[in-house]
């Protein structure tokens, strides 16, 4: 059967994909530029069809704690917000990570710091990939560049989150949240039954099912010896994720002499700049990390022996560049170009930035 192609915003695609995944509950609070997630869910009324709960909480803090509670029962639960709202959720996210529970958090980033602006940004890279909340934990962080990926990463995020019992985040920007393009939605599947959850999530609070001990979900452990064991177990999980779940996409890398590294919709702006540059004989490639954590460090290290330099392009003051520099061990020059405050550079600006960094080299006749 031919899949139906639809035209919709990235935020709307998230809502449709959540219902089709068999998501059990969404808990959110409106904030631009992601309010369409909650609005679309309320318009689609999935509680009438799949039985999915959609709830506008009284605050972001309440929403993330509802997610914490739902996740503890083995349900597929999610929340979405934008930068200031995601900051409010950080305590809850740290607790969910510590309690080793699956959950999906969507951040459609806007310009900060503070209340900032409603225009697109990628300035929450540090927050998403380095913790955000307190303690040693990581989220699996997926960075969509297209409306199709907004839809696809809902399922991927939930699947990874359940596989490793750790929260996953879709880190999008205002562009991919607000733009419309073609999307093929995932096949709908039913929500898991209580029996399936009990069987697939023996750790969840679903009743004792003949066991002697209750399952207790907590992040509190006052005995340092035991708390260190908890930490070591988390680190073991993060190691497995780093070994198995790195995702990225490469464009024109085969013969590239220079590399641009960019994520999300900014990678698409860079791709257009690169295609224009290639028409003039300048061989630039693009690496687009899809997982921002785990980061494609090994691949970058490998590429660094073949290329002359890297430019990272981000809607921030230079955040991902730190991971790029660590990956290539500063063996080749790595520069940053970014706009802040909700300004989105166009392909021409990206090319100017590239020329400013590598101008002399890229004008050499041997290119």
């Amino acid at each position: 059967m031919a899949e139906e192609i639809k035209l919709m915003k990235g935020n709307e695609a998230i809502a449709h994909a959540a219902i089709r995944y068999g998501c059990d509950g969404y808990f959110g609070y409106p904030i631009t530029p992601q309010s369409e997630v909650l609005e679309t869910l309320e318009e689609l009324m999935p509680w009438e069809t799949t039985g999915m709960v959609v709830l506008q909480a009284e605050s972001e803090v309440a929403a993330i704690n509802m997610v914490y509670g739902g996740a503890a029962t083995g349900k597929a639960v999610m929340t979405s917000s934008s930068s200031p709202g995601v900051s409010l959720k950080q305590e809850g996210i740290s607790y969910i990570a510590a309690a080793e529970l699956p959950a999906l958090i969507v951040n459609v980033m806007r310009g900060g710091p503070g209340l900032g602006t409603i225009q697109p940004s990628q300035a929450d890279y540090f927050q998403a990939t380095k913790g955000g909340g307190h303690g040693d934990y990581h989220l699996i962080v997926l960075a969509p560049a297209t409306v199709q990926e907004m839809a696809d990463f809902v399922g991927l995020g939930f699947d990874l989150s359940f596989k490793y019992r750790t929260p996953a985040m879709i880190l999008a920007d205002g562009i991919v949240g607000q733009m419309m393009e073609k999307v093929v939605l995932p096949e709908p599947r039913p929500r898991r039954t209580a029996e399936e959850i009990a069987e697939q999530c023996p750790w969840a609070a679903t009743g004792k099912h003949g066991r002697k001990e209750r399952n207790v979900m907590t992040s509190l452990e006052l005995e340092p010896d035991k708390m260190e064991v908890n930490n070591l177990r988390l680190q073991e999980t993060y190691k497995r994720i780093e070994e198995n779940e790195v995702r990225y996409k490469e464009y024109h890398v085969e013969d590239a002499e220079y590399l641009i590294v960019a994520f999300g919709s900014v990678a698409r702006i860079c791709l257009k700049a690169i295609e224009d540059a290639r028409a003039r004989g300048i061989k630039i490639g693009l690496l687009r990390p899809i997982t921002l954590w785990p980061f494609p460090s090994d691949r970058l290290k490998e590429l660094s022996s073949k290329i002359k330099g890297i430019l990272t392009v981000e809607l921030n003051a230079g955040q991902m560049i730190e991971d790029v520099k660590l990956a290539v061990e500063c063996k080749i020059p790595v520069y940053h170009f970014g706009r802040m405050g909700g300004i989105v550079p166009n392909p021409g600006e990206v090319m100017n930035a590239f020329n400013n960094c590598f101008g002399e080299a890229s004008n050499n006749s041997d290119l």
Partner: protein
């Protein structure tokens, strides 16, 4: 085929929905499309703009610095985007309220008095469809039939009786452009 379009004007002129209708028509023609709005407070009355790309191959950047075609509906938008039309491109504008008309000679400039035409049709809401007609006359990126099919698909049933009026407005735009 790849057409990179900017539509800009005041919030409330139907800038975003004109772009949306064009994008849906592209979808009907099995083309690749992106629709990237300015989504700031301009929707509530300031200047609004939308970038629409319609292409027969995958689209990389939804954000552009130059455009094949511009539909510019107020002075601010004209001041901002006239210079960004590619040489040989098309600039459509509504002369009402414009005191500094476009001056470039390397692009095709099409004044369309869409507001007067909309008033003649006794329905100022036809304004953006008149402009869409003007656009499609000079840049036949999608067929009028695809526009109408797109409208039918996206408008709720209770608004389907308005489709013939929209078709008339497109025809009117084609006539006056």
């Amino acid at each position: 085929m790849k057409e990179e379009i900017i539509i800009a004007g005041f919030g409330g002129q139907g800038v975003l929905s004109m772009g949306k209708i064009l994008a849906y028509a592209g979808l009907m023609e099995n083309l690749e499309v992106t629709w990237m709005p300015s989504y700031g407070p301009e929707q509530r009355g300031g200047t609004a703009n939308v970038t629409v790309i319609v292409s027969d191959s995958p689209i990389s950047s939804p954000v552009l610095d130059t455009y094949d075609t511009a539909v510019l509906l107020n002075q601010q938008s004209l001041d901002k985007f006239e210079a960004k039309v590619k040489p040989g491109g098309t600039l459509i504008y509504d002369p009402s309220g414009i005191h500094r008309p476009p001056t470039r000679t390397d692009i095709k400039i099409v004044p369309v008095d869409a507001m007067s035409a909309a008033i003649e049709m006794n329905n100022t809401k036809t304004y953006n469809m008149i402009l869409l007609g003007a656009l499609l006359k000079h840049r036949p990126i999608v067929s009028v039939d695809a526009v109408l099919r797109g409208l039918k698909k996206t408008l709720p049933d209770r608004h389907h009786h308005l489709i013939p009026l929209n078709e008339k407005a497109i025809d009117r735009g084609m006539d006056i452009a």
